[in-house]
Symmetry: C2
Subunit: 109 residues, 2 copies
DNA sequence: CGTATAGTGTACTATGTAGTACACAGTACA
DNA sequence: TGTACTGTGTACTACATAGTACACTATACG
């Protein structure tokens, strides 16, 4: 599923029982032009900037990290954490690459 | 230490006992214009693209993840791993943010 | 002395990113 | 029936990214 179609789906789900989730009204609340959001939802243009994706996530009550990933990006706060200890995190992440979710979750606990 | 000064230092260390590490010759081997590498080393322009940083790292025998971090970037293979399971890695990385190196290293073992 | 090599200044460029602005056609409804 | 709102097509734009191309001066050295 692409970024655009995911957003469109999410928005239309909200729209079903709340008319304030029209494309135009959402566009207005996240402060972009309706024509632009329309193109984004139809994948006619590349996904928006990180800041806009985050506003969109809040607006649609979706997970920002997930949406950013679909937009081909990584939250800049995560990037910053990694860049502070690049070799450490690089090693860690590459070793976790093939580990199943539950094994990774256990690490945190 | 900036990206440029780090590179210049590393290159001049190599140059000290190997004349093939002149700016011009390194530039030629990593396939950029000497004038451009000169500007990069003096931080007169932004750090190069990921691909160029990686070639530079190989050439100077420096760690690519470290150089990319200094360039404000994250290796695209790491980004890809994270984007495959964004929520999982986002949670993990944010929790590791303040943990000391040795504690993080222990996780991998 | 000249020629090879060194680093750098200046000007320019192609492509990507992240949108805006405005006009238009369709639908709803009071 | 008009007016209010819906989504979308087209054209344009400002800024960033990632460099190239060429000329210039300084230095070394055989």
């Amino acid at each position: 599923m692409t970024f655009g179609s995911f957003i469109r789906n999410a928005r239309e789900r909200r729209l079903a029982d709340d008319s304030r989730f029209s494309l135009r009204q959402v566009a207005h609340r996240i402060d972009v032009e309706p024509a632009y959001l329309s193109k984004v939802e139809r994948d006619e243009v590349a996904p928006p900037s990180e800041a806009t994706v985050v506003r969109l996530a809040r607006e649609l009550d979706e997970d920002a990290d997930l949406l950013l990933a679909m937009a081909g990006k990584i939250s800049s706060d995560l990037a910053k954490i990694i860049r502070k200890r690049p070799r450490l995190f690089a090693q860690l992440i590459r070793e976790l690459k093939t580990m199943p979710d539950h094994a990774i979750l256990r690490l945190v606990r």
